[in-house]
Symmetry: C2
Subunit: 376 residues, 2 copies
Amino acid sequence: MHTPICDELGIEFPIFAFTHCRDVVVAVAKAGGFGVLGAVGFTPEELEIELNWIDEHIGDRPYGVDIVIPNKYEGMDANLSAEELTKMLQSMVPQETLEFGRKILTDHGVPLPEGDDNALQLLGWTEATATPQVEVALQHPKVTLIANALGTPPADMIEHIHKAGRKVAALCGSPKQARKHADAGVDIIIAQGGEGGGHCGEVGSIVLWPQVVKEVAPVPVLAAGGIGSGQQIAAALALGAQGAWTGSQWLMVEEAENTPVQQEAYIKASSRDTVRSRSFTGKPCRMLRNDWTEAWEQEGNPKPLGMPLQYMVSGMAVAATHKYPDESVDVAFNPVGQVVGQFTKVDKTSTVIERWVQEYLEATGTLEKLNEAASV
Amino acid sequence: MHTPICDELGIEFPIFAFTHCRDVVVAVAKAGGFGVLGAVGFTPEELEIELNWIDEHIGDRPYGVDIVIPNKYEGMDANLSAEELTKMLQSMVPQETLEFGRKILTDHGVPLPEGDDNALQLLGWTEATATPQVEVALQHPKVTLIANALGTPPADMIEHIHKAGRKVAALCGSPKQARKHADAGVDIIIAQGGEGGGHCGEVGSIVLWPQVVKEVAPVPVLAAGGIGSGQQIAAALALGAQGAWTGSQWLMVEEAENTPVQQEAYIKASSRDTVRSRSFTGKPCRMLRNDWTEAWEQEGNPKPLGMPLQYMVSGMAVAATHKYPDESVDVAFNPVGQVVGQFTKVDKTSTVIERWVQEYLEATGTLEKLNEAASV
């Protein structure tokens, strides 16, 4: 599965692993893939600590950092500092919505965070919060790729990253978005099908990937959404992708920091147990269906706010997911793709990558044999 | 792409084409594929005429017939004849729902069918209506496959078809349904991803196909949902399927009877312009989004009825789709998958199949070259 993008980035396999855990970034790199750290949960200072740790452990291998600057979000045109923006957005959260979020938690016996310190916070889902993260990332020479998860990065940011000698990637859910990325100078387009965990569109991978490949050629495309095996990587490459951008699987490795309660929930879930819901981030995001996601769907209840307002409400449920894993099991934030139905156990990262490579060779070997038999 | 199922069925390519047009069945067979006629719109007498015509034109090639017996539907336990069932179901349609359907049409300037002759009819979506269709099909020796589109066929029907020396196929949207099919003795399982046109589940093809393959092995699996190119067939085979079950593409061939207005709508549509809607059949069915599908989603409006009740209301819109194509363009029934975004023109059936074979060989050839380069 060694494609041209492997040589461009200096990796063995075009397996890109999105994760919030620094340990996974390092383990993936050591196994021949390319780890990408999701920066959204970190302040610039915290991110600096994470990247320093990765630099110390990853040897001379490259890795990536993923930021989130949506194409559209509340307050995007206000031109404010992160602090000012936070204050402005806080004033926009209706009290009724905040109370509704609190009520879901208390109805489930989940303790509310003291003094609301986990509610009403602004996550890194704006240009104002993502820009300092990029600045931190660019101080680390082994960060050779900056990816934007939710839109075309601003033109000056792309120029800035290019001047620092790094590549820019961006996710998309349609050929139209892919075109916009390519025209803006994005180096690698990640086409994420609706199966994917986290923010995703509605078009399925099998349809989306080849459309994006055709739209932006010769810009390289990574396939995302529904990949958790070597066969699925073979399918992606058959459809013209140069590699696989994966996420869900890395919640289910020994190196991940996810709680045993979360991993148990992922193992139990079938592919039909996920839902595209706006109830955590304000934009459609695929996650396990539970009482929290259902509550925001019911007629008569408050509707989810836009991004990033909704997280100012849901942040307390996300905090509870980690702080009170047992109590919050029915209201927790468990972003994951439909591929969750394939998971049966927690493995070492290196075991997963070895398995995928083996499965890929078997799948492509089967196709070769069919062609040989047909040509006899 | 010649797989074992090709030899079992006596065909060259494992390309299965679902269509309501007899001309397409014949054209696909002549091009080396396997045509399957959707029987649901035909009375037994009409079906007999269609099959006779196919028999005359298809030479000694085999073909299939597709029926619809859902796992669950209104009136399924009533044990009534088709006529009795129709009367019972007619009495169950709320006047308000019927009036709402009529209003959508009149608001769009679409003439209502005279004397409601196209409303309140029972389509072949029950065991009572499908059984006579199977009887007709079994009188035609070239019909070597009976497929059920929406559930596990009743045990006695499977036995009956097997005794007549024919094979049984059934569609599914989850490994659980696939298991039920396999346990009931279904010979070929069709795994249809949520991208697919017509009735489909929510799980995307790239995730669903390998799950079903694994679940029912060694029973052969056909991949459905999102296939409209040779690259997509290569992806399906890489994921363990033995062939491709396709539908949307055959609305867009010269031999199809679809109106130019419909074909124009399909050419214009992107992959984001389809929706899974219950507004025509009562079960989630993928189609082009338009004013009819939107009207049934709006809060305060009547909700779609179950299957087969909803078609007793929507039948008038389906009739208008064909009778008044220009007037009904915004309320027409246009079932199609997300693959619609790939269509740019209407081709001959033979041209499509030749193109798919060529694309398949290119896609698998690319994978072979990658493996060769890696092993040097």
